[in-house]
């Protein structure tokens, strides 16, 4: 290893270097190296080759990962403030249900601080918390965490949790080459699903989503459930796998939680931004 190369190596983030090394081994073994990499190597320019490699190893600009994290942070802000205010509101949550909401509140606040740390770890600045309007621009008329509004509070809770599950799922692909962030996001994703399950059961509903049913939620929440009835998994139509005593298509639709795109989630939560 030349001094120049060693210096270059020392200046690279170890996380990137590990991935580059893996790619270098692949290339040494004759695995696919792009023409750009080979051209750079042919030119004898190791720094250029490394630059190309590190970008290819990620398959996406790190800015994309930061964008996902900022997006997740917005969702977690929305949830955390909702539960912070709900738990603090006098007379809103009955004593027997408080443990549920304090648990969820605690988790959402930890998600917020964790995402802020991850964003900072990427050299970026976490976006500040926006102001929220939990009436969703009047779609939830008069909601203000009042003592008589527990049913509405639970409706919103279900809406946020079911949205969160679909939102994280939809972003996983953008994290596929950043394993630490992917794994962190997935371990939040499944906790959001646990929250959703609990809230739905608390409301007397099934813990899982049947077809694209919003149950008794207001019509403006339909977008949260649209597409959950998808019968195609990896190109195979699985609609009939519930036949013969296994719950029919209802069970098939329940068995797979579907993703939402960032644009779809943004449309859902925009009314909640003051």
């Amino acid at each position: 290893m030349t001094t120049q190369l060693k210096t270059l190596y020392d200046s690279i983030d170890p996380e990137i270097l590990e991935t580059v090394e893996t790619r270098r081994e692949e290339i040494a073994k004759g695995a696919s190296a792009s023409s750009k990499v080979m051209a750079a190597l042919a030119l004898g320019s190791v720094p250029i080759a490394l630059g190309v490699l590190s970008k290819e190893a990620y398959g996406q600009a790190p800015a994309d990962v930061v964008d996902v994290l900022q997006f997740a942070l917005l969702l977690e802000f929305l949830e955390a403030e909702f539960y912070n205010r709900g738990v603090a509101a006098a007379g809103l949550i009955p004593a027997e249900d408080r443990a549920i909401f304090t648990t969820i509140m605690t988790h959402e606040n930890i998600h917020v601080s964790t995402l802020q740390n991850l964003i900072q770890g990427k050299g970026a600045t976490p976006n500040p918390k926006p102001n929220f309007d939990y009436t969703a621009k009047g779609n939830v008329p008069g909601f203000n965490f009042g003592a008589t509004q527990y049913e509405t509070f639970k409706v919103l809770s279900q809406a946020f949790e079911d949205t969160g599950v679909r939102a994280y799922k939809g972003q996983a692909g953008r994290l596929i080459n950043d394993k630490p962030i992917l794994t962190a996001a997935l371990t939040i994703h499944s906790v959001e699903a646990r929250h959703a399950s609990e809230i739905r059961r608390l409301r007397g509903k099934k813990a899982w989503i049947t077809q694209n049913s919003r149950d008794d939620l207001p019509a403006f929440t339909q977008a949260i459930y649209q597409g959950e009835e998808n019968p195609i998994q990896l190109g195979r139509n699985v609609a009939r796998l519930g036949d013969n005593g296994n719950g029919n298509f209802e069970a098939v639709s329940e068995a797979f939680d579907e993703p939402l795109t960032k644009a779809e989630v943004t449309a859902i939560i925009t009314p909640f931004l003051a």
């Binding site: 249900d97 930890i110 996983a172 499944s190 699903a193 329940e254």
Partner: protein
Amino acid sequence: MSDKNTLVISSASQLLDGKTRRDFIRLMGVGGAAIFLPSVLTSCSDDDDNDGIDGGPIGPPNSGAPLVIDFAKGDTAVFQFAYALEQLEADFYTKVVASMGGFPAADQSLLRDVKNHEVIHREALKIILGPANDFTVNTNYGNLNFADRTAVLTTARTFEDLGVAAYNGAAQYISDGNNLLLAGKIASVEARHAAAIRDLIAPKSGSQGDTGTSFAPKAFDDAFRPSKVAAGAQPFVVERLTLNNAPAAFVQGPNNNG
């Protein structure tokens, strides 16, 4: 013994023979008799997993042939690993549903849903993997009493929490975005199951730390490396779960316990 309405069965293997079965059914139809010699009666007790259902289990856990998941197969191996777990879960809940008559109605409804989901997961993965990557997992639940609500729910919780940690931990070995998405679609349903089962065990239970009974004990779910998941599932699986070429590197989740 040559009586046309008497059937002599001298070995268990005879029961698997099509002609014997046809004769047996014909006999039952005409009020005939079947004679089971002692050699059959001993081998007939093959309810090795004490689930009240004969057949299936072929020995104690970890006693069977190696069930090899070769991670050199990449995404296919991850789905095979998931497929093994889904087979275990589907088999477990099928037995639960068959013996839950004494459980409260709300439990029965929920457990039937979960059984349906797990069977559908199993069948979907079977189709996706194709015949070349198919295999059968045989199960053994030791002395688990499937009529005991607490025992059943506690085991269900083990399976669901393990399933969530398995998908969360294996995702990092998936290289195709569509495959990653499918894993995520199943993982969150497993998490819904886990929370619902936990809520049946301890309704409305809040956070009590890592080992608590809460529907969501931690702010982050676990992400386990495949070998840790296999160790968790092995006590219920007859075949020896064998992970070949398992990646040495594992990126820990926030709980740092995988």
